[in-house]
């Protein structure tokens, strides 16, 4: 069940890529930065979601709403920055980037710790087995 489901996000990623390439309305250069912010927001939500799954605190509604509000705020910042002539969207890029690396760090630590735990558990099992044999 789990093995089958793991393909679902990947399939959706490819599907999304296809949709994006089929929707060939060319984005004006002026809005390229809004698009990049949206990409960052989506990546951030994805990594945050994976982290939440690993922490057993995942909530789909919170993740999706987080994605949309974050993207909206970032877009608003970019728009404001355009109006006053300051690159405010860099603040959003910075925040998203920071969160990306934070989440990635959590995930990495969780996986490494998990592997270590498993190994120690196996070793202990082996030791126990040896002890049992000796005894």
């Amino acid at each position: 069940m789990k093995l089958k489901l793991i393909w679902m996000p990947l399939v959706c990623l490819i599907l999304g890529a296809l949709i994006g390439s089929i929707l060939t309305f060319s984005v004006p250069v002026l809005y390229a930065k809004y698009l990049s912010i949206a990409v960052l927001a989506a990546l951030d939500s994805l990594l945050g979601g994976i982290r939440a799954i690993l922490e057993h605190s995942f909530d789909g509604t919170i993740m999706l709403s987080g994605f949309f509000t974050n993207a909206l705020l970032a877009a608003a910042l970019a728009f404001l920055g355009d109006q006053i002539g300051v690159d405010l969207y860099l603040a959003a890029v910075f925040a998203f980037g920071l969160r990306l690396f934070n989440n990635l760090g959590y995930i990495r630590r969780y996986i490494v710790n998990n592997i270590r735990k498993n190994r120690i558990a196996k070793k202990q099992l082996k030791k126990q087995g040896l002890n049992d044999e000796i005894q």
Binding site: P9, C12, G20, S21, S26, A32, F58
Partner: protein
């Protein structure tokens, strides 16, 4: 079972985010690529422009060398024939006269200038008073035939004629091309200024007596006549081409023959006297 449905929900939400991410990624890649391609087309445009400039420079260089060649040829030719500068001068003078007679030079002299314009005021007034069926805009503009008939009445007295700086020669045409009049294959626009060099008093009298003048005056066309002591008419600049025209004499005399016949004529006239 409850756990399973929760897991499915998790995957669905993650999948939605993945879908959005994929679409956004490809779109931004698209946008980036398209901006690059526009830069490329601009570069290509510049490249073609540069090529164009290079070609034109090459062409002008070629022409300059040609000019130099021709100058060198002239120098050698004048050296070869420079032994008789008197003849060269005479030939040049003859050439000037022939050009003058062939309307190839700017000329000046006394004459009259006729300015004929479209009857704009009349057209405006007619538009206001006449109904749509009775209003004919062609009644208020100058037609090619107006100019032709006007010239017919006076041209026999003129020694040189021009319309809006287009010199009339024996092959000139006055034609109607849509909304404009064409003279010497050049499009002219109103007001039309006809300059005639000739005895100005006779020209004026002939004009005032011509039917076309009376006709145009009755139509209230704006027509002005001014006499001048020194009108300046431009040279005829269009091409002169003869494709089938030949001299009717049985043989075209060679230059040496011309010389002898001229001599013969001279002696003839001398003997006559």
């Amino acid at each position: 079972m409850a756990k399973n449905s929760r897991i499915i929900k998790v995957y669905i939400s993650i999948s939605v985010i993945c879908l959005i991410l994929g679409a956004l990624l490809t779109m931004s890649i698209h946008a980036n690529n398209s901006s690059e391609t526009t830069a490329n087309t601009e570069q290509q445009k510049n490249a073609t422009l540069i090529e164009l400039i290079d070609n034109l420079e090459q062409e002008s260089a070629d022409l300059e060398t040609k000019v130099e060649e021709i100058r060198a040829y002239i120098a050698t030719a004048s050296e070869e024939h420079g032994t008789n500068p008197e003849m060269v001068a005479r030939l040049q003078k003859e050439l000037e006269i022939l050009k003058f007679l062939a309307d190839q030079t700017e000329v000046t002299g006394e004459g009259i200038a006729i300015t004929l314009d479209d009857n704009v005021a009349g057209a405006e007034a007619a538009k206001g008073t006449l109904s749509k069926e009775d209003y004919f805009p062609e009644n208020y503009i100058v037609h090619d035939s107006d100019l032709r008939y006007l010239l017919n009445g006076v041209a026999y007295l003129a020694e040189a004629i021009s319309i809006n700086n287009q010199r009339l020669v024996n092959t000139s045409d006055i034609r109607c091309v849509g909304t404009v009049i064409m003279v010497n294959s050049t499009r002219l626009a109103p007001p039309y200024e006809i300059k005639l060099i000739g005895p100005s008093n006779l020209l004026e009298a002939a004009l005032l007596a011509s039917d076309q003048y009376i006709y145009l005056k009755n139509k209230d066309m704006p027509l002005k006549i001014s006499k001048s002591e020194n009108l300046v008419l431009p040279a005829y600049t269009s091409t002169i081409s003869t494709t089938v025209l030949k001299s009717a004499e049985t043989h075209i005399p060679k230059t040496e023959n011309l010389q002898t016949t001229a001599d013969h004529k001279n002696t003839g006239t001398a003997s006559d006297q």
